[in-house]
Symmetry: C2
């Protein structure tokens, strides 16, 4: 597992991860992985993150069904950020965000305030029931 | 500056920032901003980061000339990650990485090891002279 040793884990043993949709090339979300999460992501071919709020591994889609199939894992020049190319599964159009939106980056700065610019595609109460 | 107060700054007063190229939609780099950096980014329309290694504001391109023109600033669902849509200026094809490559994410996991899959477009010794 030498490729895992190449990574510069932060003081909490985590690495930041960007998930980008392969087809649309939209940036869907940002999360963290620890060593086990990244190893599991590579092994399964599906994104497994470290949930800092829950303090445990989080197989994305385990509750929502919105699994991320992983096509490619990239590492940056400083060996401390990971970029995933994914297919966001489980809903069409795809939903990566826990708010039921396509992408987590749905707030845009306009004239000095944050405007929500993407619709809710599915009610979170329906996603997490 | 209420929009800056909406952001959940981390324990170091920083927010992680993803820079995505507007035209190609490639993810170019990942860095951090503090409050002043984000305010300056919005004011100038050019990316200003917080350099953790140098402990100071870093107007991207100040040495290399590889300035990032900022088209859009987005914020995620948790108000703790920023996504920039940028035009990477100063070289054609564009160079965002200090190694002289297009993107910082030039290492791809292949068969259990990291392979460099993007060429150096300009010698860093020529960029930072």
């Amino acid at each position: 597992m030498g490729w895992l040793d190449s990574i510069k884990w932060d003081r909490d043993g985590l690495v930041p991860v960007i998930a980008q949709e392969a087809g649309s090339r939209d940036v869907l979300m940002f999360a963290f992985m620890n060593r086990t999460a990244l190893q599991e992501t590579a092994r399964r071919g599906e994104a497994v993150y470290w949930s800092r709020s829950r303090g445990r591994l989080w197989h994305k889609g385990e509750e929502s069904g919105h699994v991320q199939k992983v096509h490619e894992i990239r590492l940056d020049c400083d060996n401390d950020v990971v970029l995933l190319s994914v297919t966001q599964q489980g809903h069409d159009p795809s939903i990566a965000c826990h708010t039921g939106r396509h992408s987590c980056f749905f707030q845009r700065l306009e004239d000095g305030s944050w405007k929500t610019v993407e619709p809710v595609l599915k009610d979170p109460a329906e996603i997490y029931k």
